[in-house]
């Protein structure tokens, strides 16, 4: 029982770290601000939820694990909301989205 619990916990935390690494690659490689909100809003949120869920599995049934689940639900609500608010503020203030046709050397690449 304890062994299976530890295996599930470490697997979930490792998967969460992997998804956070993917979000970090997205925030460096993607070409424009709205695409970067896409990377942070979805991939990072899934990574945080997996890590907190894995730690809750590791702790077992206690008050701390209930508080961890509360923090998980709060992050799942708050992180995409913050990304959406940032994107809405940017597009209200007149930031233009990126298109491949705007690139000066797009014909040479394709």
């Amino acid at each position: 029982m304890t062994n299976l619990q530890d295996i599930v916990a470490v697997t979930m935390v490792s998967a969460g770290a992997f998804f956070m690494f993917i979000g970090g690659i997205g925030i460096i490689r993607l070409p424009d601000f709205f695409a970067r909100t896409h990377a942070i809003g979805k991939s990072d949120t899934l990574g945080i939820m997996l890590v907190l869920g894995g730690l809750a599995v590791h702790l077992g049934f206690s008050l701390s694990s209930v508080k961890l689940v509360i923090a998980l639900l709060f992050v799942a609500l708050a992180n995409p909301t913050a990304s959406h608010a940032l994107a809405k503020s940017a597009i209200t203030s007149g930031l233009k989205p990126w298109f491949r046709a705007d690139e000066p050397d797009s014909e040479e690449q394709t």
Binding site: V13, A71, A82, L86
Partner: protein
């Protein structure tokens, strides 16, 4: 049991430096704000893992909840400020 979590904490500490590149280099103000929010989220996770390593999760989880609320409120407040500042022009 604390050894895998120690390794994962080191890996997460390295991952935190990736959005810092976007905060330093970002072309627009919103890019920097997005990177700062991402660093805050990863710090939240790191606090949880450190609490698991020390075995004092009952203390660290309260810090985590306060940090999550503070991060969210900070991003929303700066967003509102930017929106109002640009609309006045």
């Amino acid at each position: 049991m604390t050894t895998p979590f120690t390794i994962l904490a080191v890996i997460l500490t390295i991952i935190i430096f990736i959005p810092l590149y976007r905060v330093v280099k970002g072309p627009t103000l919103w890019d920097r704000m997005l990177g700062a929010g991402a660093i805050g989220s990863k710090t939240l996770v790191l606090i949880c893992i450190i609490g698991t390593i020390y075995g004092r999760m009952d203390m660290f989880i309260d810090i985590t909840l306060a940090y999550a609320a503070l991060n969210f409120i900070g991003v929303i407040a700066i967003t509102r400020y930017l929106e109002k500042m640009r609309l006045k022009k």
